[in-house]
């Protein structure tokens, strides 16, 4: 089964396989470095549960869970 960034819990890591979704959000996600092959690590979730914070290419990025659902990943340990 395909896994998405939104499925990860705090502290888990994955490699980006594919970015889906509509062009606006997709382009923004890609511009911020979320491209296939990048490693993402979930840092934490906001106090109210959404959005989430991930670390990618050495910086911290926040995105809503709905946006993270468009990022297909492969979990790494």
């Amino acid at each position: 089964m395909n896994k998405f960034l939104s499925d990860l819990r705090a502290g888990e890591k994955g490699i980006v396989k594919k970015v889906m979704g509509n062009s606006l959000i997709k382009r923004r996600i890609v511009d911020m470095g979320v491209v296939s092959g990048s490693v993402v690590e979930v840092q934490k979730f906001a106090p109210l549960g959404d959005p989430m914070e991930v670390k990618i290419k050495g910086f911290n990025l926040s995105l809503r869970k709905a946006e993270a659902e468009m990022i297909e990943i492969e979990i790494i340990l």
């Binding site: 606006l24 890609v30 934490k44 906001a46 549960g49 959404d50 995105l63």
Partner: protein, 795 residues
Amino acid sequence: MMRKKEVIVALVGNPNAGKTTIFNNITGGRQHVGNYPGVTVEKKEGFKKFKNNDFCLVDLPGTYSLTAYSLEEIVTRNFIVNDKPDVVIDIVDTSNLERNLYLTVQLLELGHPLILALNMVDVAESTGLKINDAKLAEGLGGIPVVRTVGARKEGMDTLLDIAAKVSSSQQVVSFKLDYGGDVEAAVTKVEPLLISLHTDLNFSQRWLALKLLGNDANIIESVGKLSNGDHIIAAVNEIRLALNNKLGEDVELFIAGQRYKHVGKIYEYAVNTGALSSITMSDKIDRILTNRMFGLPIFFALMWMVFNLVFTVGNIPADWIDEGFSMLSKYLDTVISDGPLKSLLVDGVVGGVGSVLVFIPNILLLFLAIAILEDTGYMARAAFIMDRIMKRFGLHGKSFIPLLLGFGCSATAMMGTRTLENPRDRIITMLVTPLMSCSAKLPVYTILIAAFFDEKIAGNVLFSIYFLGIILSMIVAWIFRSTFFKGESEPFVMELPPYRMPTAKSVLIHMWERSTLYLKKAGTIILAASILMWFLTTYPKEIEYSKDYDALVAQAEEAYTQQVSEDVLSKLEIENIDQNEELAALIDIIQKEEENFAAETKDLDEDSSEYAKLEEEKTEKNQQLEAQNGSIYSYAAKYVELTQKIENEKDTIKNQKSGEELEKSYAGQFGKAIEPAIAPLGFDWRIGISLVSGVTAKEVVISTMGTIYSIGDGNENSHGLAKALKSDEQMNPLVAYALMVFVLIYSPCLAALAVMRRETGSWKWPAVSMVYLTTLAWVVTFIVYQGGRLLGFGS
């Protein structure tokens, strides 16, 4: 040596890369802030003389990429291509080099002379990063690489030296990224199409071909406008479709992916990441500040501090300014002779300038607070914390701060929307901000509640008004979002920049810039509008009075003189007070005491215990005086009493006169004209005038009511107004509540409208705001008033 022409340097970089700090370092105070033609993106220019060159630096908006994703990106790339700066400096955050290089590569593709500034290199290397500048330059087509530390002003001179060198050498950058067989084949197909067209676009053919293949809306539009453009677009569309199928994904995303891959290679080649610890100091701070448990309490505590800094602290100097201007009015009142000029100066100009300047302390502090929140990196976290709630109403996490500031002052809050990047979010936030009940509306509520509601429920009544405003703002935001501002919502894909210590200089410059902008733009509009309102409430001058007020005054004075001579002078067998020194001295003492008492009790309720205490003290003192001075005391007291009475009578007549003048002024005529429209809300023409003049500033509702109900200036005598309202047969608790609801919702004040005009760049949005809020106010008030009557509250 001959002076060369001005060297134009464009500063480009990711947000949070320290671009503005470097800009401020180099240009110091010599800068100019404006807008790019037609858009609200700010254009900042600064000047610097260095060695033999005059530099003009342009601080372009912070961007991550050069697609047509946002206005900032389009502005940046159009400036570089059309204005042809002599040299572009790309400022990168060295700790975050890989992502920053993504923009660098795109700048290289534009083919302009470029310098890379490795900013904050000290921080980066302290974490164990080792950068080989030569290898980095090699990977980037041989451009100069300069190390800088913006916060310590290191590398600034080198930057300027190299900029001068690069600009005079006219070197052409040739940097070509290989996007792989499929894309390159498509580019070779598109390029010949572009030669056939006499292109006015300054971009290179390869660049245009890549953008057209990548479906860049802005470029497609530009090409489409050229002759034969339609055919080219159609041809390119076909090629793109074929390429899409071949790649199995969107061409633009494929290109972006390839670019990042290339950047990754350069990064690996030039940078030794060494034993890079993955948990930074910033991450540790963040674990506390956005903690699941403490994140929200810390956030609210910080917001509470900001709010208090801006309004509680800010109102202290604001009050001084206010007092200064009323002293100035009083002074002018005494030195200029009566007439239209005096009235214009005192009420129009001084009042208008005062109402502009009175905001300055709040605005300075607001921008100080925002600058600190932004420069430390907390602003992004605030949005991160609040987004979940704001998203429900179609707003962005960043909308929370402006809305909160709305409880202080809508005009100030609207300036706070600058932190929102998406114009749609900004406009919706500005449209709903006035529903956050601002502090100028509070005096209106206070007086109405004091007059018509029991002290026990006063708090609940007040709360219900504030609560109504919040609920309405959410509903309205949601409606706007799902009707006029439909479409994709702004993604929350946002960088959470590392926490940093802000530099005093950049915070202060930021604060100063914003405040002067306010003064220049909003200030002039507010001033003009204040003068217009003065005119409408003062003219026409030649009116027929219903009574001869001058005769009334003369009559009252005559009665007074007679009374004094009967009760005081004749009893002591003197012609005037000064003939009896003892009496004159005693009168002075009693008068002073009365004045003190009046000053001390100005803000007190007559039923309060403090008032009773002060009154008791006064009586005690008087008894002492009586004991000391014997019978002469009673004459002195009588004289003071009579004098007070005549002063009050004269005031009442004067107020009746100005009440009638206001009634017959243009504003008054307007109030009467709209009476049929507001009658269903339970309002008469007097409330109508007050509401109309309240558009200048909400607290004016009260002072106008004061004049109209003939009890004098409402600000100084609010208890008087409460009493006058209570005894008015037109008024009852239901009308009072309806009036509070209307004041809560209706048209924003002039200052807020002026700021909105300035922030959105057109009169359209202030007009929309005025019309929709006034309509909404009418509808909601109608429901409240008529519903209340049906339930039997209207008597």
